[in-house]
């Protein structure tokens, strides 16, 4: 108890959760084995990345020619034959090849699945079932198995059998979020090509899909711990991302309108947006009444506070445009650092209400910022095959069983020898035979 009085919270928690010590600690999922049959789909790869970072043994199964996802990379750029998008999600996984369309491949898959905890796949609905290795078949061999299928339109419902492919941009478009993201035309009769619904720059549909898949899998794992029962999980990345919408359906039900897209404004809070400043962009917010008053004090515009005193006055698009212009007059006279100093000085010394400032960081600035290196958000990994790479770590810092990255990726089939040996006791002879038959 005396320890608590002597050590500040920040020092205490850093001593207990600093990722620099992660590799000395146990792992949450090191008793779990996963088969990942993701095909041309990063949602599946991300879900199993999460599991592997928590210590699960993940066996990544690719067709003998490799997963097409290995070619998802900007302008076709590859590093040692692997695209950068895939390279980022190969972490900690064993990479084997197996042709699931061949009966012999299916037999081998069944033998593997008999002794694993989790299967993740992203084929079109019914493909694995058609091959005789879907949940219906595996459940008989392994009743505790947790089987997660990922597909834009899911495994049932009127559109499940439509036959369309699952690609991130389409998940984003179907989610409902693209429709509310993007600039409103300045002149509605003459919109610019950029004034359209806009996707997130990253594969956000796939990442949300993978995130929900991991959530559901771990919840199912807890249920299995209690009951011994496995189950089937159906995840649509479009729905997974769509679940993150602020509000939409209830607004439509009540007002028979859709939420418009309003660029960098927010239909529920103002001010809460990006402003141009002398040397770049700054985020400023102050939307509750007391915080709005604080902002008006900082920019020395008490008249604005009087003109728009309540949240309700500030949530009118026309008023927003007026207030925005007035606030921007002030930001344009200052550099970002000056704005940050002025705001933080107020917060610290006057502190009646809080204004939150922020910087719009270009990704290269983000990657150079000391903060993220100190916290090991970024880490240099000396991968045995891919050499030195910079990866982003998972956001959880944990005191007992933290996640970690051990290697970044593996080439196609690189772990055939090890995995087939450790699982089945096969050696070079057996592998050669399977290779000749085109099974691996």
């Amino acid at each position: 108890m005396t320890e608590q009085k002597e050590i500040s919270w920040g020092d205490w928690i850093k001593a207990h959760d600093d990722p620099a010590d992660n590799r000395k600690k146990p792992e949450a999922l090191d008793h779990i084995t996963v088969l990942d049959c993701s095909y041309a789909n990063i949602a599946g790869c991300f879900a199993t990345s999460v599991l592997s970072e928590f210590g699960a043994e993940v066996i990544r199964i690719e067709p003998p020619e490799g997963d097409p996802a290995r070619t998802f990379t900007p302008w076709g750029l590859t590093h040692k034959d692997t695209g950068l998008g895939y390279l980022n999600e190969g972490r900690n996984k064993f990479h084997i090849t197996l042709d699931l369309s061949k009966p012999e491949g299916q037999d081998i898959f069944k033998k593997l699945a008999k002794n694993v905890d989790i299967v993740v796949e992203t084929y079109k609905p019914g493909q694995m079932d058609e091959w005789g290795i879907g949940y219906r078949d595996l459940q008989k061999l392994n009743p505790g198995i947790i089987y997660c299928a990922i597909y834009t339109y899911g495994q049932f419902g009127p559109k499940a059998s439509c036959g369309k492919a699952d690609v991130d941009i389409v998940d984003q478009a179907y989610s409902g979020i693209t429709a509310v993201t993007g600039e409103l035309p300045d002149d509605p009769d003459n919109p610019k090509p950029s004034e359209v619904p806009t996707k997130q720059g990253n594969w956000m549909g796939w990442y949300a899909g993978g995130g929900w898949a991991a959530t559901a899998i771990l919840a199912a794992l807890h249920f299995r711990n209690l009951t011994g029962k496995g189950q089937f999980i159906d995840v649509s990345p479009a729905e997974a991302f769509g679940r993150c919408i602020n509000y939409g359906l209830t607004y439509y039900q009540e007002f028979k309108e859709v939420i418009p897209r309003v660029g960098n404004y927010d239909v529920g809070v103002f001010p809460y947006t990006y402003f141009k400043c002398k040397d770049g962009f700054a985020f400023l917010s102050g939307f509750s009444d007391i915080n709005w008053k604080a902002l008006c004090t900082i920019i020395n515009r008490p008249d604005l506070q009087q003109q728009y005193p309540t949240i309700f006055d500030r949530l009118n698009l026309d008023n927003m445009k007026v207030m925005y212009k007035e606030i921007e007059k002030w930001t344009m006279e200052h550099t970002y650092d000056e704005i940050y100093e002025a705001v933080m000085d107020y917060n610290k010394n006057i502190g009646e209400g809080v204004v939150v400032p922020g910087r719009i960081s270009a990704p290269m600035e983000t990657m150079k910022a000391e903060n993220w290196w100190v916290r090991m958000t970024f880490e240099k990994i000396d991968d045995p095959y891919y050499d030195e790479l910079v990866i982003a770590n998972q956001p959880w810092k944990m005191t007992e069983s933290p996640p970690r990255v051990k290697w970044v990726c593996r080439p196609v089939g690189a772990d055939n020898e090890y995995v087939y040996n450790v699982k089945f006791g096969w050696g070079p002879e057996q592998l050669k035979e399977l290779k000749e038959k085109g099974v691996i």
Partner: protein
């Protein structure tokens, strides 16, 4: 390709109509939430769908700031839309944890719970004497997660944060939007909702560890770091080339073709991520020879800037002469990816999403039938569900303090008089709807 009975089998297995006949995966888990806005509150909200019991602790009177957050200040039967959605399934109680008796009450709840979720500034809970260091002493099995902008230590510690700041500091806003426009904030509170989701993954991983070892733990979660992790190839690209990732509008520069196009009547996302899908698209366009063209015959070739620009032009010109219905039909037949840019109205009338409980009708005891974004993953044995939405401030005080803490009616009254606990302030978003009869939604109502 699927066996004829596959979809029938899957529908039978996953049928949302049978949800309430089945158990819940997290029925044994209790969560205490001391959070405001979205980043923190969304986490227990996600877990509540799997059956976790969530005690949402607010300050008496005004409660969570989120209770004011609604588009254009338009309320739904007196409740803020931003609030109502994420307050789903929770028990709504009030405790003033600044007061000594409030702290005691809070600790009693934590003693009986499995998870604590908070999103206050780093160190606040510790200063109040109800942080992880204190709570692990009374409940060593507790899993405690603190979510905020920049974590509990490090150079950015002093910086306050919001969703939009996590989007901008991570670089996410920079890579979103069009080159000729400003960096673009998502139309949703992305860092909050996706932050809460990945926070939930951390809690469940810790739960698995506890199932195995009996040990609880502390989880530190930064929403900015979470977005950095989700920015796919950005960091490898910058590390390997020394070049910065910029924003490229709706075009995905790592999959080709993948863009959003104008067709005759809609905006439609069209993509082909594999050679097989691309062949299908070429056939659908009536241009099967394109799949053999050396500029387009492999994905790595298609991705090269000059080839990609050429190919996207071809697709754009084709799409502009079709209706969405025509494109959709061809996508189904030829197996490439296509969907129109859908909005909430589309979701409201989408029979597919209704069937799948994404477009979910909650039968709320207070607010009646409410359509809302519902269940994302469908689990065959333990399907997710929504019982009710956000409630007025302190509505469940009596129920929770009696059932879980065993407080006597007189004690509850006393705490109320001391303002340690309490009901709603007479303000919109805090109080029950106008037509409320004083009974609807109250558990253990006294006649």
């Amino acid at each position: 390709m699927a066996k004829p009975d596959y979809f029938k089998w899957a529908e039978e297995l996953l049928d949302p109509a049978k949800t309430f006949e089945k158990p819940e995966a997290l029925a044994d888990i209790k969560i205490v939430e001391l959070c405001t806005l979205i980043l923190g509150p969304s986490l227990p909200s996600y877990l509540s769908e799997f059956g976790a019991t969530v005690f949402k602790v607010e300050l008496p009177g005004m409660g969570d700031t989120m209770r004011s957050l609604t588009p254009f200040a338009k309320f739904f039967k007196g409740a803020a839309l931003g609030w109502q959605k994420e307050a789903r399934n929770k028990y709504h109680i009030t405790i003033d944890v600044h007061a000594e008796e409030g702290k005691e009450l809070f600790k009693e709840l934590v003693k009986r719970s499995d998870v604590v979720v908070e999103n206050l500034r780093a160190g606040t809970m510790d200063r109040w004497g109800i942080g992880y260091r204190q709570l692990k002493e009374i409940n060593p099995r507790i899993i405690y997660i603190a979510l905020n902008g920049f974590g509990q230590w490090g150079p950015y510690l002093e910086r306050p944060s919001y969703d939009a700041i996590a989007q901008s500091e991570s670089g996410m806003a920079w890579i979103t939007g069009f080159p000729d426009k400003l960096p673009l904030k998502s139309g949703i509170w992305l860092a909050d909702y996706y932050g809460g989701l990945m926070g939930a993954v951390g809690v469940l991983a810790a739960l698995t560890y506890r199932d195995k070892t009996g040990k609880g733990q502390y989880i530190e979660f930064s929403q900015a770091e979470n977005l950095i992790r989700a920015m796919d190839w950005t960091w490898l690209y910058q590390h390997l080339t020394g070049k910065q990732r910029e924003r490229y509008g709706n075009r995905d520069v790592s999959i080709c073709p993948a863009d959003i196009f104008h067709c005759k009547d809609e905006l439609v996302a069209i993509a082909a991520a594999t050679d097989e899908q691309f062949k299908g698209l070429c056939q659908a366009m009536g241009r099967p020879e394109l799949a053999e063209d050396p500029r387009f015959s492999t994905h790595l070739e298609r991705l090269k800037e000059e080839n990609a620009v050429e190919l996207l032009k071809i697709v754009a010109s084709w799409a502009s002469e079709k209706t969405y219905e025509e494109i959709d039909k061809l996508a189904c037949e030829y197996g490439f990816a296509a969907n129109k840019v859908s909005n909430s109205k589309d979701h409201f009338y989408d029979e597919h999403l209704r069937k799948r409980n994404f477009t979910y009708v909650v039968n709320d005891p207070i607010y009646g039938e409410v359509t809302i974004e519902g269940i994302a993953p469908k689990l065959s044995e333990t399907p997710g569900r929504i019982r009710w939405l956000g409630k007025p401030v302190g509505l469940d005080n009596e129920y929770v303090f009696k059932r879980f803490l065993g407080l006597k009616t007189s004690k509850i009254k006393e705490l109320q008089e001391k303002k340690v606990i309490g009901k709603w302030a007479d303000q919109i978003g805090r109080k029950p709807p106008e037509d409320w009869d004083g009974k609807r939604g109250v558990i253990l109502f006294n006649k």
